[in-house]
């Protein structure tokens, strides 16, 4: 009767296939659906395909240090001979797994991250995880993740950044982190290794800044989606490979800028993207934006700009000062909405709009990402005051819901085009 003989996938295989399907769909869209593709982007497309579709691991020979937020200093991890793997997750497959473990209204990013841990299915499985106490959900998710048998260490993070006490508090946390990691690695933090790590990351950041400069051009040579992909790759890629690939990308962009090759249309409005981070492959909203003939020229998100923008500035190249400046970098300049007052974020968005000559702002919050949802009102008010058009969108990781969102985004983008015409 049943003449079909084949094995049923294990849950792990099924999860891998689902994730591969999510990944390849986005990658194919990026590869094929836009005009004037950049050939050096292929490294990044291929990287994501290798990791998420072919399940290649990248760091077999190294200790993998999982981080749950941008606040865990990569400089110290590299200095102690580890590889930072940022575990913020964008897969709907994992989100669904996490949904059974978290409240229904929780943020999809955290559900996906917890789901990923629950499945234990990693290409590069973290040997230890450091979780800064940033937002409530991440803070509490640590315990859940620990219950799956991971070694997880909480890193105290303050919720204000103006006060002296919080600055001191965070400096102490970072020192504690270095101590814990140094113990785990059985290595001592040396002045030279820390200095080299700071300079290496600083160099990577300088590449990002150069990349951003191109986006200020009137003829934008690179899609916002591609930039998100480049910055996302920094979560887990071998840093030297990333640097090399980004250098190549920059030289190609140089040529494109000279030859006036652009990925945007003649009337494409320029967009600053802010809010909950787009993390591969959840590029839902950026995809809708750029498929609706707009171009993302800058962003204010922790998966991209916020991760690269601020650099460690050392006055005295000794461990004490390097450690302090690292701490300050991760606290002082951070515009995460978990902080009590956050005028800085509003100022940053406005500044980005000015510097990148943007026509409007797309503010996206994950349903369940309470802090971004809460801050939405103040940001919208501030933008209105400044006369900057802004649209607020709420979304999650589910693949449906596209139609309604794209209608809203399209209408917004059309209104931006109209505004432009009126001005002329």
């Amino acid at each position: 009767m049943n003449n079909i003989n084949h094995n049923i996938e294990s849950p792990k295989e099924k999860q891998n296939r689902h994730k591969a399907m999510e990944a390849i769909k986005l990658l194919n869209t990026l590869r094929e659906d836009f005009k004037a593709p950049i050939s050096s982007m292929e490294y990044f497309y291929d990287l994501f395909e290798r990791v998420h579709c072919k399940h290649e691991s990248l760091h077999d020979d190294k200790t993998k240090i999982g981080t749950m937020c941008i606040q865990i200093p990569s400089e110290i991890i590299y200095a102690l001979d580890g590889v930072p793997i940022r575990l913020c997750n964008g897969f709907y497959t994992d989100d669904e797994i996490g949904s059974d473990l978290m409240p229904q209204k929780a943020c999809p990013l955290i559900k996906a991250t917890v789901g990923h841990f629950a499945s234990g299915n990693f290409t590069d499985k973290p040997d230890i995880v450091f979780s800064p106490t940033t937002c409530d959900q991440k803070t509490k998710a640590g315990v859940t993740i620990e219950s799956f048998g991971y070694k997880l260490i909480d890193i105290d993070f303050p919720r204000t950044k103006e006060s002296e006490a919080s600055r001191e508090y965070w400096r102490r946390s970072v020192k504690q982190f270095a101590v814990e990691l140094s113990r785990f690695q059985g290595k001592k933090l040396t002045r030279t290794s820390l200095k080299n790590a700071i300079k290496k990351i600083g160099y990577a950041q300088s590449l990002y800044h150069k990349l951003s400069e191109f986006r200020k051009n009137e003829l934008v040579p690179i899609l916002g989606l591609d930039v998100f992909l480049v910055t996302n790759a920094f979560f887990f890629d071998k840093i030297d490979n990333w640097i090399e690939a980004t250098e190549k990308l920059l030289s190609e962009l140089e040529i494109r800028a000279k030859e006036k090759i652009t990925v945007s249309g003649k009337a494409s409005p320029r967009i600053v993207y802010t809010g909950s981070p787009p993390i591969f492959p959840n590029y839902k909203i950026p995809l809708i934006v750029e498929q609706s003939d707009a171009i993302i020229v800058a962003d204010e998100t922790c998966s991209s700009n916020r991760m690269f923008n601020d650099m460690v500035a050392v006055d005295e190249w000794n461990i004490y000062d390097m450690m302090d400046s690292i701490s300050d970098k991760y606290l002082k300049a951070c515009t995460c909405p978990i902080f009590t007052k956050n005028e800085d974020r509003i100022r940053r968005v406005i500044q980005l709009v000015r510097a990148y000559k943007a026509d409007g702002v797309v503010y996206q919050a994950f349903a369940g990402c309470t802090v971004y949802e809460m801050e939405q009102r103040s940001v919208l008010e501030a933008m209105e005051k400044e006369g900057i058009p802004i649209i607020y969108l709420e979304s999650d990781y589910s693949p449906s819901q596209g139609g309604q969102l794209s209608t809203r985004v399209e209408a917004f983008i059309e209104s931006l085009k109209n505004r432009r015409r009126m001005k002329k």
Binding site: M1, N2, H6, I8, R17, I24, K25
Partner: protein, 272 residues
């Protein structure tokens, strides 16, 4: 000898099954339903009986089902396709084991039926008025890929890359998406397996609404597509049972019911 007939008048095909007194399958016939159900149903029945050399008089009881069932006035009784499907599935899988969940993908709809241990329907779910992810959809896919529907399975198993999912299982939208994928030189194999997984995901969602209990039975024309079966099994994480003739489970169920109804009739009434 008494024979029993089950007639399933579906949206795309008319399925007629004849059984004997022991509920054994004697013969079946499938025909496109077209525009005139009633006429076609009668013709199909007649040609089936001719093939089997059974005279009209030997037919003891006829049960009609399917959404055109009320149009077939000659039937002694008519029942919903849900009930017929449940009965047919249990009978067809008697040797395999107790069926608790049925997945049915028809020409233009899909269903999930949950049964209790006595074989009664306790819950069922249907897709909303839409042919997304049904047999019709597979037809459209095959047509766009310029392959036969019966080849889909082979292509599925030949796929080596990541299945290329399509966002919409709506026949209308998917068409342009598939053409797009073809235009970018993706392999037909990966597209086919992607299509199968997209349907599988959709149907598994439907099944989850009624609850998944083993054993799972899969019928309807698309169940002939081993690639789709594979995809559903993977999505479900469970083995599913597909009968030899998955297209006729419902009409077979109707015939089985006819058989039972006849037996339960008072002796006198049988004469007429």
């Amino acid at each position: 000898m008494n024979y029993f007939v089950g007639i399933d008048i579906g949206s795309t095909a008319i399925k007629i099954t004849v059984t004997d007194e022991h509920k054994r399958l004697v013969g079946f016939k499938i025909n496109a339903s077209g525009s005139m159900f009633y006429k076609y149903a009668k013709e199909t029945l007649q040609s089936l009986l001719d093939e089997l050399h059974i005279s009209q008089d030997d037919i003891a009881y006829t049960v009609a089902t399917g959404y055109g069932r009320k149009l077939f006035k000659e039937a002694d009784e008519n029942i919903s396709e849900i009930t017929a499907n449940a009965i047919g599935a249990q009978e067809a899988a008697r040797e395999y084991g107790e069926i608790k969940t049925i997945i049915n993908i028809g020409g233009q709809d899909s269903k999930a039926i949950s049964l209790d241990s006595e074989g009664n329907v306790v819950n069922f779910a249907m897709n909303d008025r839409c042919a997304a992810g049904t047999g019709k959809f597979l037809d459209v896919v095959a047509m766009n890929l310029e392959i036969g529907v019966d080849e889909l399975s082979d292509y599925h198993f030949k796929s080596t890359g990541t299945p290329l999912s399509i966002s919409s299982t709506c026949a209308v939208f998917a068409e342009s998406e598939i053409i797009g994928l073809l235009g970018s030189n993706h392999s037909v194999e990966d597209i086919v397996s992607g299509v199968h997984y997209s349907i599988a995901k959709r149907i598994v969602k439907l099944v989850k609404r009624v609850g998944i209990k083993e054993n799972v039975y899969f019928d309807g024309g698309p169940a002939l597509n081993a690639g789709l079966v594979h995809a559903i099994e993977n999505e479900l994480g469970k083995k599913i049972f597909v009968p030899e003739y998955p297209q006729i489970t419902t009409s077979f169920g109707a015939a089985v019911l006819a058989c039972d109804a006849f037996k339960n009739m008072p002796e006198v009434e049988r004469e007429f």
